[in-house]
Amino acid sequence: MDFQGSSDKQDVVSEYRLWEKFRQGSEIALTEIYRLYADKLYNYGCQFTTDTSLVRDCIQDLFLELIRSKENLSPTDSIRFYLFRSLRNGIVHSLQKGKLRTQKETDSIAADFNITFFQDTEFLHDQEDLERKQLIRSKLDLLPSIQREAVLLYFYEGLSYQQIADLLGSKRKSAQSLIYRAIKLLGDNLLVHRHELISLAIFLVIPF
């Protein structure tokens, strides 16, 4: 395997068709959309709160609302973005509603969105390596949660700048600068782990 991405090879046309089938009332399409995205939505939602039953309720409400209003939905070629946005709005709304009642918490939503930076690499770790990781981790921890969220939405979920901007309720340029700044921050440490990169390069080049 060479340049393959993650296992879900979802192309634009099949996303569009699946959504259309759902709009036309196909239960199979509904089940398929749920199957593809329920877990991802749950993971995303749980980054906002530890209240897992709230997240589950929000997911259920989200789909129920889609079922209810499907004829009025517009076509789309990114179901992921559509669902993520609806979920985020739903969760934020629920969390804020909860706060007004208790009136104890005064700060804004303290979300998780902690990033791990060494997901796919399985190389031997020495002291130098460990220190590097700690340095990157401490830099990442200093980023506000909204920036961490943007980084994950961009580099893990694969959303576009415009989509991230829509999700966060900001402009495309702001979303872009959030990502650019994160790249600059992390990028400085990139060239340090030269061993890993060379091993990786060989690993990836050989199939060709």
Binding site: E20, S26, T31, Y34, R35, F63, F155, Y161, L186
Partner: protein, 335 residues
């Protein structure tokens, strides 16, 4: 700045590149692989960028428990079925279809008679098939139509002097009798097909993204609402893309495409959800998915006038599901 001047950071900032790494699709894959072949010197830079992208993930991942997953799914399916009681699926577009068709014929009449009020009422006939049904229809001019499952054909009791017009929703195979004085016109959604005397297949289901016209004999002209025209000859296929509103012309195996008229069901590299959808139409059953089932994989197969049970048996054998058939309902569940 061109890609060949990009450094690692530039690739990381490029959303098209990042989306290709995370989720390659036909178009982006073709582009990037080609580009890399032409710029082997950029290989290391690209690999560094890919490694960076692949390193980023959630520090804490959460997964739905199977029971939780299924509980929500059941509630959703229940709500969905509640909203879609008994055959209301076709109701929305039949309504709009009748309006469009009558309007069309009315317009044609008005133009021909130059403003004179027509003294005859147009009487339209509608023939429709349920899922699992096929019908052969004889038209007033001697033309023959084989209507596939889940389709509707509308045509006048007597054809006009200048044109023979019908409206199709779904799929049908037409054998049009030759009449040079009267072109045969089929309206199927956004596409109009015009013929003189030929045999061809039109596939225009509401929930498909494409409308397909394939020609067996003769010559056919297709036209969309924006005035794009394509002329099709035998073994040509015209593809109208609804999302892009464009017409494409391809070569095709007409015999394979019209196998359905002979009772042959063929799957070519299709996903399970797509196959279930086609089986619903072909056999006139409802397919329900119960709980969390692995529906990955693509399947191919050929079934010559086989019952549903045999088809399901064939597919489930090499896949991860089990099934139960009760009357007109098929339940798919985990193996």
């Amino acid at each position: 700045m061109h890609y060949d001047q990009y450094k690692v950071n530039d690739f990381l900032e490029d959303q098209y590149f990042v989306q290709w790494v995370i989720r390659p699709d036909g178009t982006s894959d073709l582009f990037w692989r080609n580009w890399l072949k032409q710029h082997p010197d950029k290989r290391l830079v690209v690999e560094e960028a890919i490694a960076f992208i692949r390193s980023i993930g959630y520090a804490h991942t959460h997964h739905l428990e199977k029971a939780e997953y299924t509980q929500i799914l059941n509630r959703l399916q229940e709500a969905h079925r509640h909203r879609h009681k008994a055959g209301s699926r076709f109701a929305p577009f039949i309504y709009s279809g009748i309006a469009a068709c009558v309007l069309l014929l009315l317009m044609v009449l008005i133009f021909r008679y130059d403003g004179q009020v027509p003294d005859e009422k147009i009487s339209l006939k509608t023939v429709s098939t349920e899922n699992g049904q096929k019908k052969t229809i004889d038209l007033p001019d001697g033309s023959q139509v084989i209507l596939n499952s889940g389709s509707v054909l509308r045509f006048p009791e007597e054809f006009e002097k200048g044109q023979r017009e019908v409206e199709l929703k779904g799929e049908a195979f037409f054998r049009v009798s030759k009449d040079p004085e009267r072109p045969f016109v089929i309206h199927s959604g956004e596409l109009t097909t015009r013929v003189l005397g030929t045999s061809f297949n039109i596939r225009s289901y509401a929930d498909d993204e494409k409308i397909l016209v394939s020609v067996a004999t003769g010559r056919v002209r297709i036209e969309d609402h924006q005035g794009h025209i394509e002329t099709l000859l035998p073994s040509d296929m015209g593809v109208f893309h609804k999302s892009e509103m464009a017409i494409e012309k391809l070569k095709c195996d007409v015999d394979a495409l019209t196998d359905w008229t002979r009772g042959i069901l063929i799957f070519k590299d299709e996903s399970l959800p797509e196959i279930f959808d086609r089986l619903e139409k072909w056999y006139g059953v409802k397919i329900k998915i119960e709980g969390k089932v692995d529906l990955e994989g693509k399947y191919s197969g050929r079934y010559d006038r086989k019952p549903l049970d045999r088809v399901l048996e064939g597919i489930s054998y090499t896949s991860q599901f089990n099934y139960k058939v009760l009357n007109k309902t098929v339940t798919i569940y985990e193996k």
